[in-house]
Symmetry: C2
Subunit: 407 residues, 2 copies
């Protein structure tokens, strides 16, 4: 049984965290430097953006965890350290400074950055912040929150979650924090997500679990269709729960994957809900597809449609835009078999049957669509493939936030 618990990235045994303001961001009330530390060396797995333009920290992290091991994660917000001539040097500098302070190897540091692209990142504030960042490390729930705050940019809500589960009689814990609000359209990875667990898992199996998971979780989220240059999801597993290391497939690996999916699915929904300017979480559930791939393409296409997103902002049951987005998705679909319904806590309304409109109460539709969490249920009547994608509405505030982000 997988049970939700408190603790975030500090829930798992042997993990500490902290977040401070070091001066990268002008606003002194905003933390801009976060740290997660494992007392023991941990198996490490990661997935990265597929954007050809890659943040320098990703290149450095990739090299550092090539051996499947890591012990600390450092991340700054306010500057993406991307498209800078000296980006690699700076990312390595961050690792070196942290490693020295913690007494670990620089190769055991995962380094990440998020913020504006193309502005030189100064090492000075980071260097000055690292001592207090490390001295303030703590394993309590508050510490996880401080780290989660330190990686936020335009996020309005702190995103963290944790669960416990049982492997071979040993209680294991897993938790994660995430940031992500704009430039969200991950492909093989997402914005920054850091997950910790004390479950013993070999780095190979940890990578296998993560790589499989992101296909159903972060790769199915879109806020604005823009795939970031700095997307990264990492998991550290330090084995301190004491279970026999999971090093092959089987029931224990399946349970671990299930716990991992609980963390990632929760964080996906929170990222979409906190999409820049969003007032509503949209969850598109597709079933009856020829296969899973088709269902995914359809779900993602609907979630990505600017017109549909704007309609949801206006609580307008404009299902024609759902059909339109299905039609241009590129998926093989028989449009004459498509059913569409909208669901929220106010109830369910069917709006399209077999590809054509049906009579429905506009009043009831409005009532359903004014809630802050909307499900779009699509039946394709063509097989057993299903998928789920998450997004948000397109609002005035999205435009406002992004019309002048740098200043």
């Amino acid at each position: 049984m997988i049970k939700q618990i408190d603790g975030g990235v500090c829930a798992a045994k042997g993990f500490k965290a902290n977040g401070v303001h070091c001066g990268i961001r002008k606003n002194r009330t905003k933390r801009d430097l976060a740290l997660i530390f494992s007392e023991a060396s941990a198996s490490a797995a990661a997935v990265y953006t597929t954007n050809l333009v890659k943040g320098a920290p990703l290149t450095v992290t990739k090299a550092h965890i090539a051996d499947g091991k890591a012990q600390a994660v450092i991340c700054n917000s306010g500057n993406a350290n991307t498209c800078n001539a000296n980006g690699i040097e700076i990312a390595e500098g961050m690792s070196d400074l942290l490693a020295k302070e913690l007494g670990i190897k620089a190769e055991d540091v995962v380094v990440a950055s998020t913020g504006v692209i193309g502005q030189p990142l100064d090492l000075a504030p980071i260097a000055s912040g690292i001592p207090s960042l490390c001295s303030g490390l703590s394993s309590d729930f508050e510490a996880s929150k401080l780290a989660a705050e330190g990686i936020m940019t335009t996020d309005t809500k702190l995103k963290e979650i944790s669960f416990s589960f049982n492997i071979g009689g040993k209680e294991c814990k897993i938790g994660g924090i995430a940031k992500g609000s704009g430039m969200i359209h991950p492909n093989m990875a997402t914005m920054l997500v850091f997950i910790t667990t004390d479950c013993a898992v070999s780095s190979e199996m940890l990578q296998a679990a993560l790589s499989e998971d992101v296909k159903h979780s972060f790769n199915m989220v879109s806020v604005d269709g823009d795939t970031s240059t700095n997307d990264m999801v990492t998991v550290l597993a330090n084995g301190m729960a004491g279970n026999a290391e999971i090093s092959s497939e089987g029931a224990e690996f399946d349970l671990f994957k299930e716990a991992l999916a609980k963390v990632t699915t929760y964080l996906c929904r929170e990222i979409a809900r906190d999409g820049e300017g969003a007032t509503k979480l949209l969850e598109c559930k597709v079933s009856g597809a020829k296969n899973e791939a088709t269902a995914k393409v359809v779900a993602k296409s609907v979630i990505c449609s600017s017109l549909f997103k704007a309609a949801m902002f206006g609580a307008d049951a404009n299902w024609g835009r759902v059909l339109c987005a299905i039609g241009y998705s590129g998926a093989e679909v028989d449009v004459a078999k498509v059913d569409v319904s909208f669901v929220s806590e106010a109830g369910r309304i069917d709006v399209c049957k077999n590809g054509a409109g049906i009579d429905f109460s506009e009043e009831k539709a409005k009532e359903i669509l004014t809630k802050d969490e909307i499900q779009i249920i699509i039946g394709l009547g063509d097989g057993n493939g299903s998928a789920c994608a998450w997004g948000c509405d397109l609002t005035y505030d999205y435009v406002k936030i992004n019309g002048d982000y740098r200043t």
Copy 2:
């Protein structure tokens, strides 16, 4: 020499047009029914949306011009006649009523609709409007404007253009009208565009010219990434200029294609400029690509980025978002060779060289980006491929217009 002239779709000899309010739209000041008529049977070519959900009028038109001939175009706004159980019946009814009134064959009618998807279209107002629509046909410039008004939905500006050119000593004319403001992301076609010419061109060569042209024109426009269900571009060529029919490739066909491109390029820019809520026309010019296909993918990716579009609304020289969009475009690009500049009537500013930021005056950048027509100049330093794409900024008004389009 190709010379701009007045006349729109009535510029070419033998073409008449009209536009009336028949009652599909509630607002009686908005025309909702348009007609273009050729005195002589004309070669006809068309391209259609690639959306799997296709408006019923497209299916009917496709059948009607299968023989490469047409004589009239009827188009209503206010209702797309799409995803309706009786859509084909209604589109055929429109053709039949018009053909009877004009004394032509129903098979020579091109029929089109634009507006809300999924609401039954009533034939009654159209039937009642057709007599005055036909009796009011005229060949003057005003008539082309009336037709152009009749096809507008959320468009704020009437879109029309015409040119004259000379084939074998005969003066030929070509002109077009267009509607398109939202749900603009054509793929093999676009929103509604009707082009007329008195140049004699065989229907095969006319189709060849159009199919080639849309790759560089309408397929390179995007307002919001949503490919409409009702996109259609048609050209009617009635041969009344008296030139020897163009029936093979050669210098005359090239000149005809050049004149056609003048019409389509102009209309593309006007569609993008009048994108829903837009305050700015964005023109993205890519050069130095491996090949043309790569240049197109890059140009379109930048033009489609919500984040970049919002930055342009805010006159924010956030070139990192340009790099980001290039990076996720899927095109093969060496990001370390990318240069980016912004150009408007206020001047030019280089913002990125070899994939990294360079010092520039934010003040000058702001001055350039507050103009209403912005060029984004991208050099890839990797070959001779080039392309151009058009789009617009993302604004509060886009959200407003689409938050409650149906009501």
